[in-house]
Amino acid sequence: MENHYIVSSSPHIHTGVTTRRIMLDVIIALLPAVIVGGFLFGYYATIVIGASVASAVIAEWAFEKITKRPNTAGDLSAVVTGLLLALNMPPQIPIWMVCVGSGFAIVIAKQLFGGLGKNFVNPALAARCFMLIAWTGAMTTFREPLVDAVASATPLAIMKDGAAGTLPSLLQCFVGVKAGTIGEVSAIAILIGFAYLLVRRVITPTIPVIYVLSFAVLTFFFGKQAMDVNYLLYQILTGGLLLGAVFMATDYTTTPTTPLGAVIFAAGCGILTFLIRRFGGYPEGVSFSILLMNVAAPLIERYTIPKSFGNKGGAASK
C-alpha cells in the first residue's frame, strides 16, 4: 500500500471558475463604466468610487470580525457591491454619504440576512434607495460632465417634467456626455461590459434583453410620446436602464434561477420601470423596479420550477 491517491466522489474535474473569478469578471466588466465616469466627472468621481469600494470592504471585514465569522472579503463580492453603488451615485455626492450608503449595503442589506447568497434584495440598490430617501436633495442633484460645477437636470427629468435644460444629442447619450450618475451615463461603456460578461459566460442575455425589450415595447406604444422612435431611444439610452439591466437585474442571488423565472423577472422589471417612468412621481424607476422584482423572485422561482426531463407534470404541479 505504498501508493495512496486521493479518493472522492465524481466528478474529478472542475471548470476552475469560482465565485471569486466571477466577481473579478464583473469588476472587469464594470471598468469601462468606471473609466468613462472618472474621465467625464473628474477626480472627485474617482474618489467617490474609491470611497464606496473601500467602505464596502471594510464594512464586510468589520462585521465578520465582530460577529466572529470567517472573513469573506476575499471573494470580492463586497468590491462589486461598492463599485455598483458608486456607479449609481451622482458625481458630486458628499463622500460621507457614500461611506454610510456603502456600509448600509453590506451590513443591513447583505450581512444581516446571512451574507453572500442569502440577501433577498440587491445590496447596492437597497443602499441607493435608502440614500434616495435619506438625502433626496444630494441624490438628485446632477451636473454637466466635463465642466466644473454646472448643475443640470438629467435628460429623463427634462423629458418628464420639462425641467430646465436642453436635451443632449442621442450620440452624446450613447457615449455618455450628459448629466446622470457616474456609471449610468455611458451606454457604450455598459455595453462593452455586457459583451465581456456574455463572452465569459458570467450571465446569459435573457434578463438584460427581455428587460430592455419589454420596457421598449411599452414605451413605444404607450409612452408619453408614443410611436416616436427618437423618444424611445432617449428613454433607453438615458437614466439607469442599461446599467440596471446589465449589472443589477442579473445579480445571481436576488433573481430567479429558473429559465422561465428569469424571463418573468425581466419582463416584470421592464413593466415596472415603464409604469414608474410614465405615471410615477420619479423620472427614474430602474432601482425601484428591480428591488420590487427582487422581492418577488422567490415566489417567481417557486412557480417556475422547470419540468424535469422525464416528468411531464413537473415538480410544481401539485
Partner: protein
Amino acid sequence: MAATFKGGFHVHDHKDLTNTKRTKTLPDCDVHIYPLRQHIGAPLSPLVKPGDHVDVGQKIADSDQFVSAPVHSSVSGTVTKIEPYYHDSGTMTEAIFVENDKKYTVAQTVRPRDYKKLLDKDLLSAVREAGIVGMGGAGFPTHVKLSPKTKVDYVILNCAECEPYITADHRAMLEEPDKMIIGLKIAMRILDLTDGHIGVELNKPDAIAALKSSPEYNEHIHIVPLKVKYPQGAEKQLIKAVTGRRVKAGALPADAGAVVINGSTAVAIAKAVEDGMPLIERNLTVSGDAVKEPSNFHVRTGVPISFVIENAGGFIAKPEKVISGGPMMGIAQYNTDYPVVKTTSSVLALLHAPKIFDPDAPCIRCGKCVQHCPMQLMPFKLRQASVKNDVDMAMKYNATECIECGLCSYICPANKNILQYIRMIKPEVLKKQREGAK
C-alpha cells in the same frame, strides 16, 4: 444542424492526448485476475478451481440467472487461486487468478460462424454466452438489452464518447469500423429492425468518415452527427438527440422504443458471433497529465492496471488522483492494483486533483446548475434538501431522475460538490418511494 438535447455543457475534453494514437497491443502479463463481478445483475459462481488448466475464451464463471453475464479467461494457463481482490468499484470482490502460460491456446468452444446463417435466437444466445456487457462503463448485460418486452423502433450505437480524455471508442471506429457495423447489424437482426443508427459527436469527423467508407456501410445505417456537449452519450440524452423521444422518469429506454448499445460493445458482439470469441479483450485509453505516454491499448481482461500504466511509460510524477473511467463519472482509485474488467474504458492519472468541495463557500444562486442540468432538475435545491435531510423536498425536486453526470459539481463556482449531496439523499428517496408504492 447536429442533433442534441437541452442543457449540458462543453467540457474541455483533452482528447488530443490520445485520439491520433493507434491502438497498441500489450506484452504478455504473467498473472491475469478475473473479478466475478463485471456486470450488473446476479452474482456468478466460478466454474474452475485452483490447479485447473484454462484456455483462451474458456468460460470460467457463470450464473443460471438471465440477468447476468459469464466471465471467460483471456489467456491460457493455470488457475492459481480464487480469493477476494481489488475491484475498481473500490470494494474487494471474489476473483479468479490465472497464471499465463503465454501459449494462448484457444478453447475448443471458440468457433467462427457466419452470422447471416444463424437463427435470431442463436444470435442472442451467442451474445449471452460471450459474456457481453455494456462496455461504456455501466456493464448491463447486452443480451438483456436485446430482449425487450415489446418491439422497439430504434437501435442506436452510442459512439458519442462525451467523457473527456477517453478515445477508446473513437479508435475502435477508426480501426474496426467493419466489425462495429456488423455488430450493429446483428443487433438489428435480433431486434427485428431494418435500420440502425450510430450517434457520433462532431469532434470525430475522421470516425464518421471511417464508418461511411466501410464496405459494411449501407443506406440502412444512419450516422447521426451529435453536438459536442457533455453528457451527449448519456442514454436518455442520446435517445432524445437521435429519435426526439423522451424516456419518462422511471422508465427504460425500451419503453421509449429504443435500445442503446455502446460502440465498443458492438465490436464485441461481432467478434463473439463471427469469430466465436467471447468478450476477453477491450480498448482502453491511458491518459492524463501524470502519464508519460498517453496511449490507447488493446487489453486482455484481467491485466492489473499498474501493468497497463507501466506500458504507457509509467507516471511522470506521483499523481494526486487515479481514476477508472472518465473524469466526470469515473471512480477514483486508491491504488493501481485493480484489474482491467469488461467495463474499464480508461484509466486517468491526474497530477493535480482540482478542488470540487469547499465547505465554506456559500451557494450564490448563480443558477448554472439549473441552466445546464441535462435532466432539467434544480441541483442546488436537491443539495439543500440533502443538507437538511428533507426527503420530501428531494422528492418534489425529482431527485431520483438525476443521472449523476456530475455537471452540476463540475460547474459550481462555490465548489459545493452538488452531486455528492444528491447521491446522499437519493437512497432515502428511493426507499420512501418503495414504501409509498406498497
